[in-house]
Symmetry: C2
């Protein structure tokens, strides 16, 4: 399902087929945690900002409105009216980041709901059941996302369990896909590599999960507190052990510079809440660097956020107006700022793909990698 | 500037010309308090929901971001990128509803800002200066909106002062319009009738202000606590004293039934925050009546809010999804619900105009007046 179209050093230009269409890679997936982008963007907006893949959150949708309800409504695509590819995370990250009182056993994890404290149990089969009910195109394996730093022995044992969980995920999803009323029988499972920043554990774990011959592999457990250099080093260490003919997804990353630097290290898929979250605070990306719209100097600035940007916001609205909305706490401010930032990230990936197609990615990297994350 | 196209009993079909285009009446103006519709709708959305006139708030824009700033940005039309007609209220209503500690003198009113408590003084000249800076097409007179109930003698003296203030408003705006750098030299002033629910005071005040030969007249100070019947009776009492060849604007009204009933009583312009405010709480208008999207029965309802509605929301999204967004406190819920409600109100006015054009308004009224405000 993945075609490697061209390479430039480690960077890859590819295409990945899903039951809801093709994805041109490298790609930045747009995060729709609760089946909508925070800031007031709907599926009609996703089409306008160049979204290729919507990413939705298994844990959040399980607790509200419930995956059974979404299944009854015909699955997540119909529920949110997005007919393009959808990837769902496994819930693992939320289990380990939101729940302080979790209990990890071989079967899975017991923890209280962050909404009402109700007891929830989630293991590989439960996560696959939920994702099957949601009917996403790409389901992610249920894994433990270990903290950095964690002791070597703990990480080693956690990786071993994550492998055992992955084998159970694979069996469960294969079974759910054969059910006559499966929402999306073409749903596939991607494995997740763990191992914190211990290169030998990362490599050993990657080799184990690669042997399962899954259609895609993610690098999980990074961007959780380590330095950028540690993250880059870890990716470089594990990348050569990732199957070349499968897409690679770096979970939860990152800044424009991170994206460029990780494309250069062989990554194909990305996701991050940063453009929407930072956007809601007035931190806006431009082709000259990052601006803070709260700054007084934009009070009477009628120009668009980025004169080089072709997004629906920059085509119409000026900084002075959007800054007023931000200061007046008008919800429209959030919508416009998030819309711009996501369009910027999607456009950045388009330009990265164009550069790869033209075999000049290294020149693009040299021009933009440092510049785009600079505060101006 | 106002053409009376046809009449059916007291109901009127008309057209009003402004420097930013014609307004087909009867019309419901869409409230953009702080230069945006609360709920995350921008000027691009106004175009999609059939808005004819945007109504912005003089007091709110004076305190934030400041009318001088908006003037420097080229006026409100350019600031918010809305090129259709704009009406600004005078600030009077906010002065009398937000400020507990106001001091009314002949010159005007001194009161503390609701943002930071800073002292503000606003009288006829100040209100006209602000509205001239904003550059709206229709400026409203600075008046006192008296509470209901208030003593007869207080209302009488207040009406006399409001007339004196109106004369000053007229002189001030005429002067500002001749300034070489006036934002919108074609800006006009509409007078506001007051008098609480005392019919003789209403009539006397209306006769006084009609003598000033202004291009439009509003009925203010209603929908502030009196019953619907008292409101209708007051409109009926004063209507015959309003110039037939000028548009009549009933301020701050109302429900769909109120709109139909007041069109039947000769009103041409309306505005109200109700469709957007109720929308944000899940109270949604349909051609069968009002639904409460919080109700459990909509949990698995995939149908649009109103199958008969052609709005951008009903064309795409189902009740189950929007209800989930509402429960999950996703800003998208507010946007979709407000968008639907405002589209509904704008469509209602279109159908009222169509009925007037076809000389069957009374049949339309009989079919819908009670039905549309019914909770179902």
């Amino acid at each position: 399902m993945f075609s490697l179209l061209s390479e430039e050093n480690h960077a890859r230009r590819g295409r990945y087929l899903t039951p809801h269409g093709a994805v041109e890679t490298p790609v930045f997936m747009n995060v729709c945690t609760q089946a909508a982008i925070k800031g007031g963007l709907g599926a009609d907006d996703l089409e306008r900002i160049g979204t290729q893949v919507a990413l939705a959150n298994t844990y959040h949708l399980h607790v509200r409105p419930g995956d059974r309800l979404i299944r009854d409504m015909g699955g997540l695509h119909r529920f949110m009216t997005w007919n393009g590819p959808i990837l769902t995370d496994s819930g693992g990250f939320q289990v380990f980041s939101l729940a302080e009182l979790r209990k990890i056993r071989e079967e899975g994890v017991a923890f209280p709901s962050h909404i009402d404290g109700a007891k929830i149990f989630m293991g590989p089969e439960e996560s696959m059941r939920i994702q099957s009910n949601l009917g996403s195109d790409i389901a992610m394996a249920f894994d433990e996302c270990v903290r950095i730093p964690s002791p070597y022995d703990y990480v080693r044992r956690s990786c071993e369990r994550t492998t055992r969980w992955l084998i159970r995920c694979k069996a469960a999803l294969e079974a759910y896909n054969t059910e006559s009323d499966a929402i999306n029988p073409g749903q596939v499972l991607w494995g997740i590599n763990q191992g914190a920043v211990f290169h030998d554990l990362r490599i050993a774990h990657m080799q184990e999960i690669a042997a399962l011959d899954l259609p895609g592999y993610a690098i999980g457990g990074l961007a959780v507190g380590e330095t950028h250099q540690e993250m880059y080093d870890t990716i470089e260490a594990v990348e050569e052990y990732m199957p070349k003919d499968r897409p690679r997804y770096l979970m939860g990353v990152g800044t424009p510079s991170n994206l460029i630097e990780c494309v250069a290290r062989g990554v194909d898929f990305f996701d991050c809440v940063m453009p929407s979250r930072n956007g809601r605070h007035g931190h806006l990306f431009t082709w000259e660097g990052v601006i803070n719209l709260n700054n007084r100097k934009y009070e009477r600035d009628p120009d668009p956020i980025d004169p080089l940007c072709g997004c629906p916001v920059c085509s119409r609205y000026g900084k002075s107006y959007i800054r007023h909305l931000l200061k007046a706490q008008e919800p429209l401010a959030l919508r416009l700022m998030v819309m711009h930032n996501l369009f910027f990230f999607n456009s950045l990936m388009t330009r990265i793909r164009d550069a790869l197609d033209a075999h000049c990615f290294e020149a693009f990297r040299a021009e933009f990698s440092e510049k785009l994350s600079r505060r101006i």
